[in-house]
C-alpha cells in the first residue's frame, strides 16, 4: 500500500513539532509551588524484629520503632546494594509500627531490608527468601 505524499508531509510535520516541543526533562517538571509535607522530624529509625510467614515464605512482617508523624521508606536491596527491588513508604501513626511486605514476586535469595527516614538515616537487616 502506498501512502499519499500529503500524508507523509503531515506526519513528518507532526513529528517535527513533537520533537521540538517534548523535552524529556521538562515533561516531568514538578510545580515548584507545590509543597510536600515531609512530616515530623524523625527521632527514631529502628527495625525491632522481622517475621517471615511460615506458609507463604514471602510475606514479611516488619516491626519498627519510629517517630509518630514522620515519613519512612523501606527498600529491598541486593546484599551489596544497587537499585531497590521493592519500595514501600509509610507515615508513622504510632511509635511501634508493623508493616506487612509482600515479596511474592521476588526470587529466592539473600537480601537486605533497609529502613530510611527523611533525614537520610538508615538501618538494615538481612533477610533470606527461601520458598
Amino acid at each position: 500500500m502506498q501512502i499519499p505524499a500529503h500524508k507523509i508531509k503531515f506526519l513528518a510535520a507532526a513529528l517535527l513539532i513533537l520533537g521540538c516541543t517534548l523535552d524529556p526533562t521538562d515533561s516531568f517538571n514538578v510545580d515548584t509551588n507545590t509543597t510536600f509535607d515531609l512530616g515530623e522530624v524523625p527521632q527514631s529509625t529502628r527495625i525491632v524484629s522481622v517475621d517471615i510467614d511460615a506458609l507463604t515464605k514471602t510475606t514479611i512482617t516488619l516491626n519498627m520503632d519510629v517517630t509518630i508523624g514522620a515519613m519512612y521508606t523501606i527498600h529491598l536491596l541486593h546484599p551489596l546494594g544497587g537499585d531497590p527491588l521493592a519500595v514501600t513508604g509509610f507515615t508513622a501513626t504510632t511509635q511501634l509500627v508493623t508493616v506487612e511486605l509482600d515479596y511474592s514476586t521476588i526470587s529466592d535469595g539473600l537480601y537486605d531490608i533497609v529502613l530510611i527516614d527523611t533525614q537520610g538515616n538508615s538501618t538494615r537487616i538481612p533477610i533470606l527468601l527461601e520458598r
Binding site: 520503632d65 514501600t88 513508604g89 537520610g120
Partner: protein, 576 residues
Amino acid sequence: MKKLFLLLALLLPAQLSAQPEVYLETNNITANRGDTIEIWANFNNNNTQTRTIYFDFSYQRTAFSLVDVSFATAGADSSAIPTGTTTSLTNYNFPGYNWVQTTANTTTNGLTNYQNMQYAYTSGGPYTIRRLYGTVALPTNTNLGTGRFMKLKFEVQNTAHDFVYDSLYMNFAFANSNNAGWLATNNAVSTGYRSAFFTVTGGTADILVYGTLDLPSNVNIDLLQPRLKFFEKYNNVPDTLRHTETVGSNGIFSVTPTEVDADTDYRIYLSLGGASGDSIPSILNTAITVSDFTAAETEFSWQSLTTGAFVDTLFTKGVHYMAADVNDSRGFDPGDTGTLFAQVAGVETVEMTDTSQMILKSVFDTVSTAYWRVADSILDTQTGGPYGMDFHTDTTATDTLNLKYFIPGDVNLSYSSALAVNNPGSQAAPVLDNTFIDVNLNNLVVTSNSIEIPFEVNTGEQEISALQFEVLYDPSKLRFETMDLGVSSWVAFIDNQEGRVRFGAVDRAREFAMGGEFTPFSLKFVTINNPLDIVTQLHLSSNMDASSKSGHQIGITLNSNTIRLIGYNNYANSGS
C-alpha cells in the same frame, strides 16, 4: 496483643546485654602454592539464643579458591554446635567486589560494620566478596555453645612466581537470636579485627633481577598498573621490547632468566595506566590536584625578585622541582604553574606518554634543589627522554634494583614515591601532616526535578585556599546542570563527563583564604524521569584534595562518601 509483643521485643534487647563473639581461630597461616588452607570461624554464644550467623569475607579470587564450607561436627569437643543440631548454609559470591574500609565499618562490632558497609566494584577485578548465611535448628531447650562453628577451605592457586598474595578478611560477622533479633557481635576476639593473614611460599623460579618500586601507601593499583618494560639494547638499531614485568601492589618485582637474558644490556622504563595507556588522563586527574598547583604557585611567588633564586620552602628536594617542571624546560617557570592550573581545571592535560619518570631510589632521595637541573639533564641524556634505567644483567647472580618514580605535575608526590629523609616529619614536605578539614554531605528527599546538593565545609582554625572533589552519578537518572560557587573570589573549575563531575575552586589571587564553616559548592542536577519516584545515589570518589593558605596539602574527613537521593513518592506510598 500485637503491640504487647512489640513492646516485649523492644524491651528484651535492653535486658539482654550479652554479646556473642564470632572470630577467626588463627591469623597466621603459612602455605605453599597448591595447598589447601582451612580457616575456622569460632563462636562464643555468651548466653544468647543465636540461630543464624551472617558472614562477609573478602579475598583474592585469583589467588584462592573457596573449595568447601562446612559446619563443625555437632557434639564434638571443640564444636560450638550441640548434638542433634541440623544446619543449613546459603552461600553467595560477588566477584569483582572488594570491601572499602572506613572508620565506621572497621569497628570490633560486626553488626555496626554491616550497617556501614561499603564496596568497590571492578569489572573482572581480582577480589571477591563471599557472603555466608549459616543457620542452625537446635534441639528443644538447647543453645549454641563456645568453640568452632564453620570451616572455610581454600585452595592456593598456582599463580606467577612473583604474584603478591593478600589475606582473607572477615569484614563482618554477626548473630541473629530467637528472642532479640540481630545482635551486636564482637569480631575482635583472639586474632583482632578481620584478620587471617596468609604467608604463601613455594616460588621455585630462578630470579635474575629482583627489586622494588616504591609505591605510595594510598595508591590505587588497579588505576596505576605499574609495569617495567625491559628493552634490549643494540648498537645502531632500535631497542627491542623484550619483557614487560608487572609490579605488585607491594612494589616488589622479580624477573626470571626466561623473561630476560643474562649478561645483556637493557634499558628499563616505567609504564603506567594499562597496556594502551588509556587511563593516563585518569591517573593525571588523580595525581595532579589543587594542592599541587597551590604548592607550585606559592613556591614560585616566593622567588627572590633580585636574584631569581627560589627559597625552597615548599620544594625542599630536587625531585619536587623535577616534578614541577611539567613543560620540561629544565627550569621552574610561569609556564609550569599555568599548565598545572590548566590540568587541575581540566582545560588542558599535561603532556605525558605512558612512560613515567623513574629514578634509582638513591638518586630520587638525594638530588638537591641546587642540583636538580643537572640531574635532569644527565638523566635525559642517558635515556633519551623520560627517565629510564640502563642496566646490564649479571651472568648468574641476582641483581637488585630499588627504584622510585614521580608523575610530572604531582609536585607534592601524593601519587608518586615518597621521599625518604632523616626527618620523618618532612618526608613529604608539601603535606601538612595530620591536618584535616570536615566536609558534610546529607541525603535528600527529592520533591522537584531540580536537585541541589550543598557541600558544607568546616575547616576549624585552618584557612584553606583550594578545594576539589569528584562525584559519580547515574547518568540514566540524573543530568548535571551547574555548580554554584560559595566562594566568589575564588576561580572555579568543572570537568563534567557522563556520570562523573570533577569540580573545585582555587584562591588564585592568594588573598581570599577561607576558614570556619561555609558552603563552597552546591551541585545542581536535574532528574531525567519523574523526580518524585527517583531512587539513586551519588558517590564521592577518592579524588579529592584541599590546600592550606600556605599551599600545603591537607586532608579531608567526610561524614559519608555517599549521598542518597530518594523521591517523595517512595515515602508517600501507603504501607499497611
